[in-house]
Point group: C2
Chain length 381, copies 2
Amino acid sequence: MTQARRLAVPPVAVPGQPLAAVGTPALLIDLDAFESNLRQMAGLAGAAGTALRPHAKAHKSVAIAQRQVGAGAAGVCCQKLTEAYPFAEAGIASIHVSNEFVGADKAAMAAELAAWTQLSICVDDARQVHEVGAAAAQAGVKIDVLPEVNAGQGRCGVDSTDALMALVEAIDANPALRFAGLQGYHGGVQHVRGWQQRREAAQRAAELTAAYVRHLEARGLRCAVVTGGGTGTAEFDIASGVYTEIQPGSYLFMDADYGANEWAGAFRPEHSLFIAATVMSATRPGHAVCDVGLKTVSVDSGLPRVWSRQAGDASLNYVAANDEHGVLEMAENTGRDPFGERIWLVPGHCDPTVNLYDAYVCVRGGVVEDVWAIEGRGLSR
Amino acid sequence: MTQARRLAVPPVAVPGQPLAAVGTPALLIDLDAFESNLRQMAGLAGAAGTALRPHAKAHKSVAIAQRQVGAGAAGVCCQKLTEAYPFAEAGIASIHVSNEFVGADKAAMAAELAAWTQLSICVDDARQVHEVGAAAAQAGVKIDVLPEVNAGQGRCGVDSTDALMALVEAIDANPALRFAGLQGYHGGVQHVRGWQQRREAAQRAAELTAAYVRHLEARGLRCAVVTGGGTGTAEFDIASGVYTEIQPGSYLFMDADYGANEWAGAFRPEHSLFIAATVMSATRPGHAVCDVGLKTVSVDSGLPRVWSRQAGDASLNYVAANDEHGVLEMAENTGRDPFGERIWLVPGHCDPTVNLYDAYVCVRGGVVEDVWAIEGRGLSR
């Protein structure tokens, strides 16, 4: 043997495998629910003539981006430059980086990406404009630039028309950059629970953005693109008439946090993202431990929920997450021994949970139909 | 050109690069502090004749495991079977999987690993013993088995001497398995803040474990290994005389949570793990946003701390983490504009933060000295 022996971690799943044979923890997509969510949002945006540019930060997967584009999406959003690389290489023809960035390494990445895809970026500081403009000019590429305006979240984005006009002038002064419109996004509004309250909050955010659009229009500056909106407000954003495109991401998956929103409109989301777990210790009555902890589910928006449609018994509750352990309690002590049981968990927050995995195990009818790579996992620069 | 063009994400850093040129977010190791922590713990265990088996779940890196073994460690702990693969392949000669597992896929992995390394595992249910025993017998390997006893945490582990004896009998009944001793670990005790209170809690946990050891000894069953302990209790665990080996992991890095413990003994840890961040938006006085959020730092044990020894100004506070944004507030509004500033963050909890990265950027004197792969990142089955 001249070839060295290799020890390789077995694949998480293979197509055709029964779901019951998939090792845990595994990140599952219920394809029926996923496809329903995909179709519904594409249908709502398409019927209104609003472009749909789904946020790839939620899924980080080329296979999913291609399905979104196949269903009519105008391209995708990414939140980081490195995150855009796998999508650009896979041929996603239009990518919007919906976030600010600073540094020569970042400017060089933007210029490299712009040679592969129709790239647009967000800015809120003229120094960023100059840095990217210089890199684009040197690379001989053209980059669309959208100033971000503060739509009420108070995170990034300019806060005044003066600051906005200064950015537009900086963009116009650089021949490698092109002013393409505005971004206005309010993350907090997405999670307002009540439908009517969320509608009102979305209207306020849209109006803040619209005021900037009108200011520019009054000076002869047309916004070809006004981008924003998210899963929680998509229907309101479409109806507002303010946005030319919307950026929902979580709509595909519907995590437990979004599931706690009231959904009273046309979009009827279903949970499609789950974590398959196994009870691997159950030494005390009423108490058990599963194999999903902080390294396989993000708890920033709350603990995962045990999915009772899949669990044998709805009385299991996930009560604490340690690094590699999920502590379960049984609401009623029925004497049942859950050792070895498999359960499905709905993650509290899909985006940072997806970022923990290398692949989705896509299931339908109890069988693995496909395994999709999560190429953007960990690409956070 | 017959070769397809490729678009590849630039490497996070290269040796010899000035730290100031490393793109952010980046996971940094301050090598001077790291080596101090490494040496101190090895010295304490070595002087007492207690074996040191550091927990690789904290660092997930072969380069670090090799340095631990080089400093005298008896091998490493892993918390998951897949996590053990890169260490076994790299030649770490002794690996203890300090956690229970269930399933045919897991049993097969244990048998495969046992052909590569001296493998020991934890059990707390006879069904696990039977499953692993059958796989080991079929593969023709021998696996050391350590029943886990509940040392007061109430998570995994048997709760009675009867349950323990049943496990020992199940192990003895399988010729592919070998009873090797006990594990008793109490995670909660590690984080008791006061030194004296932590000492007392560690003594209670050690005594619970010791009672099981004595029960076995009275029946002629010798525990070749009694394993447990962690970073917070290492000195007490060594002094207890109960453990033949200790399993600290976080001692290398000293995250913000462990940093909040009182350290009044011989071990004087230093923060060695940091996240380099850049302020990429600062549009309002007293407010800024950096590029480190939930996908690049775990917040389960609290938000990251801005490291004032590195930051230009100690008045920056990290007050909220969104997916890709870290919201900063300035305690005093000095009129300073932090746009483009680079800051260092101390993560709240090292283990799940490390699990978000593919590599450590190792720095000394402001220069990148090395880049270490995190091969175990995401290996959670």
